[in-house]
Amino acid sequence: MDLDFDKPIKDIENKIAELKTLNLKSKVNFASEIKVLEKRCQEQIRSIYSNLTPWQVVQIARHPKRPVLQDYISLIFNSFIELHGDRIYADDQALIGGLATLDKHRVMLIGHNKGKNTKENIERNFGMAKPEGYRKALRLMKMAEKFRIPVLMFIDTQGAYPGMEAEKRGQAEAIAHNLTDMAQLEVPLIALVTGEGGSGGAIGIGAGDVILMLSFSIYSVISPEGCASILWRNAKFAPEAAEALKLTAPSLLKMGILNEIVEEPIGGAHRNHEETARNIKMSLIRHLDTLNQIPLKKLLKQRFEMYARMGKP
């Protein structure tokens, strides 16, 4: 999938590729022309990506080449032992978790598990978790509490799965239960929105001590399409809704929803997984170092106050 606003960038990239091919085939050397074009390309990227509309950010947050949880697991963490199951009903592969090491830190890592292709996405229900996913997450959080290790929550979901079976098995109860128990969980909780932060499905593993977002991720109470189809009576007004909902990281930082934005490389995470992962890693380590120093009582008090402040008139 190519983004339409990426077209000027693509055009230059194609030209560079052309010249590189010519370089190989002919005797003429286009090295300097390529250099010029590469510079222009970088400028083009910078110019486009520093003036994105919210709707364009939505496209980036949903980009199929954007890194998913499994990319981050291999790029950020030294080791990962996946733990399965909610001990009640099933193991939900849309939301996974396990014991992970990050530098010198040992953590419980939980995250929405989008796939990298159609087959994976079908197996993982496109990262849309069912109640059993949220219940597994809570079980693992309580294990983290027992082991006194922090919990990292990687958020990337359109939303909690809105299927009949999920509804029947208590999607609402599962999310509510998580929110209630997370309020008192006796270890640091760090939430990071890496792609789509879709409503209840996101906050079900999102009520942390620290809330971070990648710079081109989104976090919203409702999808722009959903909002448009209700308030504009037509989903095609999604761009307007995206604008109105203030769902980008900078807007949310300003509103006090976020603690911090984790910068993506110029041109977005999909252009450079490694650099994205490095930025995340640095941010997580910094926050872990800080949170681990805070005495438990103070940590819980801070968390309480953080949510008490949310939207306070």
Binding site: A160, Y161, P162, G163, M164, A166, E167, K168, R169, G170, Q171, A172, E173, I175, A176, H177, L179, T180, D181, M182, A183, Q184, S199, G200, I203, G204, G206, A207, Y219, S220, V221, I222, G226, C227, I230, L231, W232, R233, F237, E240, A241, A244, L245, K246, L247, L252, M255, I257, R303, F304, Y307, A308, M310, G311, K312, P313
Partner: protein, 279 residues
């Protein structure tokens, strides 16, 4: 998570009746004397359909007369996002709603007495922007939980809500975490929390405090849902069972403790609270 439209909440008067003394049950279509409908607490005497009532009507049903002390009456919605849609600004919508309903928010909160026992309570009103969970709503529900903790009181929340309030964006979503933070405090202090789910209780409200009662009580036939019926039908591309997302369905599925007729609600709540022996 957006609120649901609920067009059938107001009773429609049959057109062929000149005098304005009849109403029609939205469920079974029976014609009912308006007086009888009111006297019967807006419950259909024919089919037991429980119609929507205002938060003040609910208050009268639940607590001892004259015992209400309101808390945080002045909290109103704020248009932090400067939200505008096709039909205008959220700010104007707030103003209109306030003047139309006489309410400042989608919930009234305070202290009251049930059979002479003091409780903290929050009662939502669907007329106020579909009972949606805005920042003001969340703040009132949260602060009242804290008041219950401070004074060691049971907490009763009567929900009637379409879900989150889109026009407040993420501030609205965060009210789910905020209100559950309040519920967690009650839980920690072992204070009873009873959740009453009325028609409708859905989206971000069902997925936060409404589902977390020590006892979840529902009115007959109430719609209780996370996702909207249409969204689910689009997702699974098949028809849903008729009683899907009704109180009765949720009881069978294990999420509602007990369904009770409106007129017996106070009595039931009083009896349940009698069981709490924790000093």
């Amino acid at each position: 998570m957006a609120w649901l439209k609920k067009t059938d909440v107001k009773s429609k008067i049959p057109g062929n009746l000149k005098l304005n003394i009849w109403t029609r049950c939205p469920a079974c279509q029976a014609h009912i004397y308006k007086q009888e409908w009111e006297k019967n607490l807006k419950v259909c005497p024919k089919c037991n359909y429980h119609g929507g009532i205002t938060c003040t009507e609910r208050l009268d049903l639940l607590i001892d007369p004259g015992s209400f002390e309101e808390l945080y009456p002045d909290i109103t919605p704020r248009d932090t996002l400067n939200f505008k849609d096709e039909k205008g600004s959220y700010e104007n919508k707030i103003k209109e709603t306030i003047s139309k309903t006489g309410l400042n928010e989608a919930v009234i909160t305070g202290y009251g007495k049930i059979n002479n026992r003091k409780v903290a309570l929050a009662i939502m009103d669907f007329r106020f922007l579909g009972g949606s969970l805005g920042s003001g709503t969340g703040e009132k529900i949260f602060q009242t939980a804290m008041a219950a903790v401070e004074h060691h009181l049971p907490y009763i929340i009567v929900s009637a809500s379409g879900g989150a309030r889109m026009q407040e964006g993420m501030l609205s979503l965060m009210q789910m975490a905020k209100t559950c933070t309040g519920i967690a405090q009650l839980k920690k202090k072992n204070l009873p929390y009873l959740s009453v789910l009325t028609d409708p209780t859905s989206g971000g409200v069902s997925a936060s405090y409404a589902m977390m009662g020590d006892v979840n009580i529902a009115e007959p036939g109430a719609l209780i849902a996370f996702a909207g019926r249409r969204v689910i039908e689009q997702t699974i591309r098949q028809k849903l069972p008729d009683n899907f997302q009704t109180a009765e369905y949720l009881l069978e599925q294990g999420f509602i403790d007990i369904i009770v007729n409106r007129k017996n609600m106070k009595d039931l709540i009083g009896k349940i609270l009698d069981f709490n022996q924790r000093k």
